[in-house]
């Protein structure tokens, strides 16, 4: 308030209903008693009324076709980490890993780590080769035992498992190495998908 009258900012805040409660009450009392300020407020109200009276100007044309013709290609929304061709790869990896577990897990009981370490110390590489041969042989035997011990499923699987016992040690070694590599590669790629935004993967 200046010179006993409401200042212009207060009048505008009054119009905009932006005065705090106490000031609003004080301004209301002043406006009721002061014709000068009431007149200034009326002038301001007239301005706002003129603005209110401004009609919407009609738009002469539909902007949509022009806008749509200029829309940039929108990047695909962030996809789940394993969308697209990933599910089959993960399913394959899971199946192979399960097979590896089936073969290898029982064998863990056969060559105790300590014994293998002692053999290694005593006989070096030759002992390690012997341990590996024993590991494969045990895995084959355990696989056959697991399959034979099952019910209906085992009967179906027995035919599939029969050729496995004929595989040479080198084939088993190569197969296990390939599974290991697949496991490493699959998890490495999956991790990359998880930590890298899809857009960056695409742009590389």
């Amino acid at each position: 308030m200046s010179s006993g009258h409401l200042d212009e900012i207060t009048l505008n805040e009054w119009l905009d209903d932006a005065l705090p409660a106490l000031e609003h009450t004080a301004a209301a009392a002043h406006l009721a008693a002061c014709p000068h300020c009431a007149g200034r407020l009326a002038e301001l109200r007239a301005v706002l009324a003129r603005l209110d009276s401004l009609p919407e100007a009609p738009l002469a044309r539909d902007l949509a076709p022009a806008v749509l013709s200029r829309l940039p290609a929108r990047p695909a929304p962030s996809a789940p980490a394993f969308a697209g061709g990933w599910p089959w790869a993960l399913a394959l990896q899971a199946a192979l890993a399960a097979a590896l577990l089936l073969i290898a897990a029982p064998a863990a009981e056969v060559p105790p780590i300590a014994a293998a370490a002692a053999d290694l110390q005593a006989g070096g590489a030759q002992a390690l080769a012997g341990w590996w041969a024993a590991f494969i042989a045990q895995a084959q035997a355990d696989l056959a035992q697991v399959i034979a011990g099952g019910g209906q499923l085992a009967a179906d699987a027995r035919a599939l498992a029969a050729p496995l016992s004929q595989w040479p040690e080198a084939a088993w070694s190569a197969g296990l190495a390939a599974l290991g590599l697949l496991w490493l590669a699959g998890n490495g790629l999956a991790l990359r998908r998880l930590i890298t935004p899809p857009s960056q993967i695409r742009s590389r």
Binding site: I9, D16, A18, L48, L51, S53, L54, L63, A64, V67
Partner: protein
């Protein structure tokens, strides 16, 4: 996918969601719904019909590029008008400081027609001319406060000004409008 089915129009949030996924037709529907309001924001701020149409078009393109930042829980219209206002204000900041000459509504007012319609058109032209004569920063606060209904705080945030500047710009803008329009009622 059809955008319209009898009695079951998708709401703006749904259209914006689909536009985000790259559905151009959904964005086209949003443009059609809001183009009139967006054009009027641009027209009030720029004062020229053709410029306003171009600016409205640019505003929709800019909004599309920023669609990820739009809060789907809030109404699309005010956000879109804000985008348009910002675009026009940037345009004004880089070009003519003030004093636009309106080009078409005066011409429309001169078209023979019913007396009342002509008088209304003349009054609208006078108001537009008065707004266009304001310095851009005053025009901005009038647009955001009066036509978009923003609070002082929101205007301050939108324009990057202290609230005290918003208040002073607003009262000076209204005083200038009052002086210009005083003799034209």
């Amino acid at each position: 996918m059809a955008l319209r089915s009898a009695g079951d129009l998708p709401d703006d949030a749904d259209l914006a969601r689909r536009a985000r996924r790259g559905e151009a037709a959904a964005y086209g529907e949003l443009v059609r719904r809001h183009q009139q309001a967006v054009f009027n924001v641009c027209y009030r701020l720029l004062g020229h019909r053709q410029e306003a149409e171009d600016a409205a078009q640019e505003a929709f393109l800019r909004a599309y590029a920023r669609l990820e930042t739009f809060d789907l829980s809030r109404p699309f219209g005010p956000w879109m008008r804000r985008v348009a206002a910002n675009l026009c204000l940037n345009h004004l900041a880089g070009e003519r400081p003030a004093g636009l000459e309106l080009d078409d509504e005066r011409a429309e007012a001169a078209v023979p027609g019913p007396e009342i319609a002509r008088e209304q058109a003349e009054q609208a032209a006078a108001v537009r001319a008065a707004i266009a004569a304001l310095p851009p920063r005053y025009r901005a606060v009038i647009e955001l406060r009066h036509f978009q209904g923003l609070s002082y705080d929101s205007i301050a945030a939108a324009l990057g000004l202290p609230v005290s500047d918003v208040k002073s710009h607003l009262f000076r803008a209204r005083r200038q409008l009052a002086e210009v329009l005083k003799g034209q009622t």
